[in-house]
Protein backbone atom coordinates (compact mmCIF):
# COMPACT_ATOMS: atom_id res chain seq x y z
CA UNK A 1 0.00 0.00 0.00
CA UNK A 2 1.43 3.38 -0.93
CA UNK A 3 1.72 6.04 1.71
CA UNK A 4 0.52 9.60 2.14
CA UNK A 5 2.27 12.87 2.84
CA UNK A 6 0.81 15.65 4.96
CA UNK A 7 1.95 19.23 4.90
CA UNK A 8 0.91 22.11 7.14
CA UNK A 9 2.46 25.44 6.28
CA UNK A 10 1.71 29.15 6.19
CA UNK A 11 3.34 29.41 2.80
CA UNK A 12 4.36 26.48 0.64
CA UNK A 13 5.25 25.78 -2.93
CA UNK A 14 5.10 22.44 -4.73
CA UNK A 15 6.88 21.88 -8.03
CA UNK A 16 7.78 18.90 -10.14
CA UNK A 17 11.24 17.43 -10.56
CA UNK A 18 11.22 14.28 -12.66
CA UNK A 19 8.78 11.95 -10.94
CA UNK A 20 9.09 13.76 -7.62
CA UNK A 21 7.18 16.49 -5.90
CA UNK A 22 9.57 19.19 -4.80
CA UNK A 23 8.05 20.75 -1.68
CA UNK A 24 9.45 24.01 -0.40
CA UNK A 25 8.41 25.50 2.94
CA UNK A 26 10.21 28.47 4.43
CA UNK A 27 13.37 27.84 2.46
CA UNK A 28 13.47 24.15 3.36
CA UNK A 29 13.11 21.70 0.51
CA UNK A 30 12.13 18.09 0.47
CA UNK A 31 11.46 15.68 -2.33
CA UNK A 32 8.61 13.21 -2.34
CA UNK A 33 8.75 10.40 -4.89
CA UNK A 34 5.33 10.32 -6.53
CA UNK A 35 5.26 6.54 -7.13
CA UNK A 36 5.59 5.98 -3.38
CA UNK A 37 2.47 7.90 -2.33
CA UNK A 38 -1.20 7.94 -3.22
CA UNK A 39 -2.18 11.02 -1.21
CA UNK A 40 -0.71 14.48 -0.74
CA UNK A 41 -2.51 16.73 1.74
CA UNK A 42 -1.61 20.42 1.66
CA UNK A 43 -2.97 22.58 4.44
CA UNK A 44 -2.36 26.29 4.38
CA UNK A 45 -1.67 28.85 1.71
CA UNK A 46 0.63 28.05 -1.15
CA UNK A 47 1.11 27.41 -4.81
CA UNK A 48 1.22 24.30 -6.87
CA UNK A 49 2.55 24.28 -10.41
CA UNK A 50 0.49 22.75 -13.20
CA UNK A 51 3.09 20.06 -13.89
CA UNK A 52 2.54 18.86 -10.32
CA UNK A 53 -1.07 18.17 -11.27
CA UNK A 54 0.18 16.43 -14.39
CA UNK A 55 2.51 14.24 -12.32
CA UNK A 56 -0.28 13.52 -9.82
CA UNK A 57 -2.49 12.41 -12.69
CA UNK A 58 0.24 10.20 -14.18
CA UNK A 59 1.16 8.60 -10.86
CA UNK A 60 -2.38 8.28 -9.49
CA UNK A 61 -1.89 10.66 -6.55
CA UNK A 62 -4.80 12.47 -4.95
CA UNK A 63 -3.96 16.02 -3.87
CA UNK A 64 -6.16 17.56 -1.17
CA UNK A 65 -6.13 21.28 -0.48
CA UNK A 66 -7.29 22.44 2.95
CA UNK A 67 -7.57 25.99 4.14
CA UNK A 68 -9.75 28.29 6.19
CA UNK A 69 -13.23 27.41 5.06
CA UNK A 70 -12.30 25.23 2.11
CA UNK A 71 -11.62 21.59 1.42
CA UNK A 72 -11.03 20.72 -2.21
CA UNK A 73 -9.06 18.19 -4.17
CA UNK A 74 -7.49 17.17 -7.44
CA UNK A 75 -8.32 13.57 -8.20
CA UNK A 76 -6.52 11.39 -10.75
CA UNK A 77 -8.73 9.69 -13.35
CA UNK A 78 -10.74 6.89 -11.79
CA UNK A 79 -9.76 3.34 -12.61
CA UNK A 80 -13.00 1.87 -11.33
CA UNK A 81 -16.21 1.02 -13.12
CA UNK A 82 -18.98 3.66 -13.09
CA UNK A 83 -21.25 0.90 -11.82
CA UNK A 84 -19.94 1.55 -8.30
CA UNK A 85 -21.32 5.10 -8.37
CA UNK A 86 -24.66 3.91 -9.73
CA UNK A 87 -24.82 1.25 -7.01
CA UNK A 88 -23.90 3.86 -4.41
CA UNK A 89 -26.86 5.97 -5.42
CA UNK A 90 -29.14 2.99 -5.01
CA UNK A 91 -27.77 2.18 -1.53
CA UNK A 92 -28.38 5.63 -0.11
CA UNK A 93 -31.06 4.61 2.34
CA UNK A 94 -29.28 1.57 3.71
CA UNK A 95 -25.68 2.19 4.62
CA UNK A 96 -25.95 5.42 6.61
CA UNK A 97 -27.23 3.50 9.66
CA UNK A 98 -23.98 1.53 9.83
CA UNK A 99 -21.89 4.67 10.08
CA UNK A 100 -24.16 6.11 12.76
CA UNK A 101 -24.08 2.83 14.71
CA UNK A 102 -20.27 2.72 14.74
CA UNK A 103 -20.02 6.41 15.58
CA UNK A 104 -22.44 6.28 18.51
CA UNK A 105 -21.01 3.05 19.90
CA UNK A 106 -17.38 4.18 19.62
CA UNK A 107 -18.15 7.60 21.12
CA UNK A 108 -19.99 6.04 24.05
CA UNK A 109 -17.22 3.51 24.69
CA UNK A 110 -14.59 6.21 24.44
CA UNK A 111 -16.36 8.18 27.16
CA UNK A 112 -16.64 5.04 29.29
CA UNK A 113 -12.92 4.38 28.85
CA UNK A 114 -12.33 7.77 30.47
CA UNK A 115 -14.67 6.95 33.35
CA UNK A 116 -17.76 8.83 32.13
CA UNK A 117 -21.23 7.48 31.42
CA UNK A 118 -21.63 6.71 27.71
CA UNK A 119 -25.39 6.15 27.84
CA UNK A 120 -26.15 9.81 27.22
CA UNK A 121 -24.52 9.48 23.81
CA UNK A 122 -26.43 6.26 23.11
CA UNK A 123 -29.73 7.95 23.90
CA UNK A 124 -28.90 10.81 21.53
CA UNK A 125 -28.12 8.25 18.85
CA UNK A 126 -31.44 6.47 19.27
CA UNK A 127 -33.52 9.56 18.75
CA UNK A 128 -31.87 10.82 15.59
CA UNK A 129 -33.79 12.11 12.65
CA UNK A 130 -31.47 14.72 11.17
CA UNK A 131 -28.07 13.33 12.07
CA UNK A 132 -25.82 16.26 11.16
CA UNK A 133 -28.03 18.86 12.85
CA UNK A 134 -29.39 17.06 15.87
CA UNK A 135 -26.98 14.24 16.76
CA UNK A 136 -23.43 14.97 15.69
CA UNK A 137 -23.11 18.43 17.29
CA UNK A 138 -24.44 17.15 20.62
CA UNK A 139 -22.21 14.10 20.68
CA UNK A 140 -19.13 16.09 19.72
CA UNK A 141 -19.89 18.71 22.36
CA UNK A 142 -20.19 15.98 24.99
CA UNK A 143 -16.87 14.46 23.91
CA UNK A 144 -15.18 17.86 23.95
CA UNK A 145 -16.44 18.73 27.43
CA UNK A 146 -15.45 15.35 28.88
CA UNK A 147 -11.99 15.31 27.29
CA UNK A 148 -11.26 18.80 28.63
CA UNK A 149 -12.53 17.81 32.06
CA UNK A 150 -10.52 14.58 32.17
CA UNK A 151 -7.25 15.85 30.76
CA UNK A 152 -7.21 19.44 32.02
CA UNK A 153 -6.10 20.62 28.58
CA UNK A 154 -7.10 24.14 27.54
CA UNK A 155 -10.41 24.23 25.65
CA UNK A 156 -8.94 26.29 22.79
CA UNK A 157 -6.12 23.77 22.29
CA UNK A 158 -8.53 20.83 22.21
CA UNK A 159 -10.90 22.57 19.78
CA UNK A 160 -8.16 23.59 17.37
CA UNK A 161 -6.47 20.21 17.51
CA UNK A 162 -9.79 18.47 16.94
CA UNK A 163 -10.50 20.59 13.85
CA UNK A 164 -7.00 20.00 12.49
CA UNK A 165 -7.20 16.24 13.02
CA UNK A 166 -10.66 16.01 11.51
CA UNK A 167 -9.50 17.77 8.34
CA UNK A 168 -6.72 15.24 7.80
CA UNK A 169 -8.90 12.29 8.74
CA UNK A 170 -11.45 13.39 6.15
CA UNK A 171 -8.66 13.77 3.59
CA UNK A 172 -7.66 10.13 4.24
CA UNK A 173 -11.31 9.07 4.07
CA UNK A 174 -11.71 10.96 0.80
CA UNK A 175 -8.72 9.08 -0.61
CA UNK A 176 -10.25 5.77 0.45
CA UNK A 177 -13.64 6.66 -1.06
CA UNK A 178 -12.17 7.70 -4.41
CA UNK A 179 -9.94 4.62 -4.63
CA UNK A 180 -12.91 2.38 -3.90
CA UNK A 181 -14.55 3.80 -7.03
CA UNK A 182 -17.22 5.72 -5.11
CA UNK A 183 -18.34 9.29 -5.55
CA UNK A 184 -17.51 11.51 -2.57
CA UNK A 185 -20.59 13.63 -3.37
CA UNK A 186 -23.24 10.91 -3.06
CA UNK A 187 -23.84 10.73 0.65
CA UNK A 188 -25.90 8.51 2.94
CA UNK A 189 -26.68 10.94 5.74
CA UNK A 190 -26.89 14.34 4.10
CA UNK A 191 -23.30 15.58 3.94
CA UNK A 192 -20.44 13.97 1.97
CA UNK A 193 -19.47 10.32 1.87
CA UNK A 194 -15.95 10.96 3.13
CA UNK A 195 -17.26 12.92 6.17
CA UNK A 196 -19.62 10.05 6.89
CA UNK A 197 -16.92 7.40 6.53
CA UNK A 198 -14.68 9.47 8.83
CA UNK A 199 -17.39 9.28 11.54
CA UNK A 200 -16.38 5.67 12.22
CA UNK A 201 -12.86 6.77 13.08
CA UNK A 202 -13.41 9.96 15.03
CA UNK A 203 -13.43 8.55 18.55
CA UNK A 204 -10.66 5.93 18.18
CA UNK A 205 -8.31 8.10 16.11
CA UNK A 206 -9.10 11.78 16.69
CA UNK A 207 -10.32 11.90 20.30
CA UNK A 208 -8.12 9.09 21.52
CA UNK A 209 -5.04 10.92 20.23
CA UNK A 210 -6.09 14.25 21.71
CA UNK A 211 -6.49 12.80 25.18
CA UNK A 212 -2.89 11.62 25.05
CA UNK A 213 -1.48 15.17 25.12
CA UNK A 214 0.35 16.33 28.20
CA UNK A 215 2.03 19.57 29.21
CA UNK A 216 4.12 21.20 27.85
CA UNK A 217 1.83 21.41 24.80
CA UNK A 218 3.33 21.80 21.34
CA UNK A 219 2.65 25.06 19.59
CA UNK A 220 3.64 24.30 16.02
CA UNK A 221 0.98 22.67 13.86
CA UNK A 222 3.44 20.03 12.60
CA UNK A 223 4.21 18.96 16.16
CA UNK A 224 0.51 18.78 17.01
CA UNK A 225 -0.18 16.74 13.91
CA UNK A 226 2.65 14.25 14.38
CA UNK A 227 1.00 11.94 16.95
CA UNK A 228 -2.17 11.85 14.89
CA UNK A 229 -0.29 10.87 11.77
CA UNK A 230 1.46 8.14 13.75
CA UNK A 231 -1.95 6.88 14.84
CA UNK A 232 -3.43 6.89 11.34
CA UNK A 233 -0.31 5.24 9.90
CA UNK A 234 0.00 2.81 12.77
CA UNK A 235 -1.84 -0.16 14.19
CA UNK A 236 -5.27 -0.09 15.82
CA UNK A 237 -7.20 -2.91 17.43
CA UNK A 238 -10.54 -3.91 15.96
CA UNK A 239 -12.48 -7.15 16.50
CA UNK A 240 -9.53 -8.45 18.49
CA UNK A 241 -7.04 -7.98 15.66
CA UNK A 242 -4.32 -5.45 14.95
CA UNK A 243 -4.65 -3.68 11.64
CA UNK A 244 -3.20 -0.54 10.08
CA UNK A 245 -5.71 2.24 10.66
CA UNK A 246 -5.18 3.57 7.17
CA UNK A 247 -5.72 0.13 5.69
CA UNK A 248 -8.92 -0.19 7.72
CA UNK A 249 -10.23 3.11 6.34
CA UNK A 250 -9.64 1.77 2.85
CA UNK A 251 -11.25 -1.57 3.72
CA UNK A 252 -14.38 0.19 4.98
CA UNK A 253 -14.63 2.20 1.77
CA UNK A 254 -14.27 -1.00 -0.27
CA UNK A 255 -16.93 -2.61 1.92
CA UNK A 256 -19.29 0.26 1.14
CA UNK A 257 -18.55 -0.20 -2.57
CA UNK A 258 -19.25 -3.94 -2.42
CA UNK A 259 -22.49 -3.45 -0.50
CA UNK A 260 -23.55 -0.76 -2.96
CA UNK A 261 -23.05 -3.19 -5.83
CA UNK A 262 -24.70 -6.10 -4.06
CA UNK A 263 -27.72 -5.22 -1.93
CA UNK A 264 -27.66 -8.70 -0.43
CA UNK A 265 -24.43 -7.93 1.43
CA UNK A 266 -24.44 -6.23 4.80
CA UNK A 267 -21.72 -3.99 6.16
CA UNK A 268 -21.33 -4.62 9.86
CA UNK A 269 -20.52 -1.76 12.22
CA UNK A 270 -17.02 -1.49 13.64
CA UNK A 271 -16.55 -2.16 17.32
CA UNK A 272 -13.82 -0.16 19.01
CA UNK A 273 -12.48 0.02 22.57
CA UNK A 274 -13.04 -3.64 23.34
Amino acid sequence: MRGGRWLVAENYSVRRRGRRFLVEVGGRRSEVAAPTIDLLVLRGVGEVSSDVLELASEEDVLIVFIGDGFFSWFAPPSKKDIGYVIGQWGARNILGDVFVDTYIDSSARFLESMGFDGNYVRIIGETYSDFWRSVEPRVETQLLVNVVEKTGLPLSFVEETYRLYLEFLEAEALNAVIRAGLSPHIDFLGKTLYSELALEFRAPLVWDTIRGFREPLPSRAESILKPFKSRVYGYVRVYGKNIYARKLIHSRAKGVARCSMNPGLRLRPLRWFR
Binding site: G18, E31, A33, P35
Partner: protein
Protein backbone atom coordinates in the same frame (compact mmCIF):
# COMPACT_ATOMS: atom_id res chain seq x y z
CA UNK B 1 10.14 -4.90 0.44
CA UNK B 2 13.61 -3.51 0.92
CA UNK B 3 15.75 -3.28 -2.21
CA UNK B 4 19.45 -2.42 -2.52
CA UNK B 5 20.60 -1.13 -5.90
CA UNK B 6 24.29 -1.18 -6.68
CA UNK B 7 25.43 0.31 -9.95
CA UNK B 8 28.74 0.39 -11.73
CA UNK B 9 28.71 2.72 -14.71
CA UNK B 10 31.92 3.62 -16.56
CA UNK B 11 33.31 7.13 -16.17
CA UNK B 12 32.65 7.97 -19.81
CA UNK B 13 28.92 7.58 -19.09
CA UNK B 14 28.76 10.12 -16.27
CA UNK B 15 25.50 11.47 -17.59
CA UNK B 16 23.91 8.01 -17.43
CA UNK B 17 25.10 7.57 -13.85
CA UNK B 18 23.35 10.81 -12.91
CA UNK B 19 20.27 9.68 -14.79
CA UNK B 20 20.18 6.37 -12.88
CA UNK B 21 20.54 8.22 -9.57
CA UNK B 22 17.73 10.63 -10.41
CA UNK B 23 15.60 7.73 -11.60
CA UNK B 24 16.06 5.85 -8.33
CA UNK B 25 15.23 9.01 -6.38
CA UNK B 26 12.01 9.24 -8.41
CA UNK B 27 10.94 6.04 -6.69
CA UNK B 28 11.97 7.07 -3.21
CA UNK B 29 15.54 5.80 -3.41
CA UNK B 30 17.82 6.88 -0.57
CA UNK B 31 21.54 7.45 -0.96
CA UNK B 32 23.56 4.92 1.01
CA UNK B 33 26.91 5.31 -0.68
CA UNK B 34 28.10 6.52 -4.08
CA UNK B 35 26.56 4.05 -6.50
CA UNK B 36 24.51 2.35 -3.77
CA UNK B 37 20.87 3.24 -3.13
CA UNK B 38 18.16 1.65 -1.02
CA UNK B 39 14.47 1.62 -1.75
CA UNK B 40 11.28 0.39 -0.20
CA UNK B 41 8.85 -0.76 -2.86
CA UNK B 42 6.59 -3.58 -4.03
CA UNK B 43 7.04 -6.06 -6.90
CA UNK B 44 5.15 -3.94 -9.41
CA UNK B 45 7.25 -0.84 -8.77
CA UNK B 46 10.41 -2.93 -8.81
CA UNK B 47 9.57 -4.19 -12.30
CA UNK B 48 9.09 -0.60 -13.37
CA UNK B 49 12.46 0.36 -11.89
CA UNK B 50 14.24 -2.54 -13.59
CA UNK B 51 12.79 -1.73 -17.00
CA UNK B 52 13.60 1.95 -16.50
CA UNK B 53 17.22 1.23 -15.58
CA UNK B 54 17.46 -1.09 -18.56
CA UNK B 55 16.24 1.69 -20.81
CA UNK B 56 18.84 4.11 -19.38
CA UNK B 57 21.79 1.70 -19.56
CA UNK B 58 21.15 0.71 -23.15
CA UNK B 59 22.08 4.27 -24.08
CA UNK B 60 25.65 3.59 -23.02
CA UNK B 61 26.76 0.81 -20.76
CA UNK B 62 27.25 -0.34 -17.22
CA UNK B 63 25.97 -2.83 -14.73
CA UNK B 64 23.32 -2.61 -12.04
CA UNK B 65 22.81 -5.26 -9.37
CA UNK B 66 19.54 -5.29 -7.48
CA UNK B 67 19.50 -7.12 -4.18
CA UNK B 68 16.25 -8.01 -2.47
CA UNK B 69 17.14 -9.12 1.04
CA UNK B 70 14.45 -10.46 3.36
CA UNK B 71 13.68 -8.27 6.36
CA UNK B 72 15.72 -10.50 8.67
CA UNK B 73 18.80 -10.28 6.47
CA UNK B 74 18.35 -6.56 5.93
CA UNK B 75 18.17 -5.98 9.68
CA UNK B 76 21.43 -7.89 10.10
CA UNK B 77 23.39 -5.50 7.87
CA UNK B 78 26.40 -4.21 9.79
CA UNK B 79 27.72 -0.73 9.19
CA UNK B 80 31.19 0.66 9.81
CA UNK B 81 30.93 4.43 9.44
CA UNK B 82 33.79 6.78 10.30
CA UNK B 83 31.70 9.81 9.32
CA UNK B 84 29.18 9.30 12.09
CA UNK B 85 29.85 11.35 15.19
Amino acid sequence: MKVIVVFDIPVEYDKLRREVREYLKDFGGSFLQYSVYTLDCDEKVLERIVSGINRILTKGGGRVDIFIPCKKCFDKVRVVDTYEV
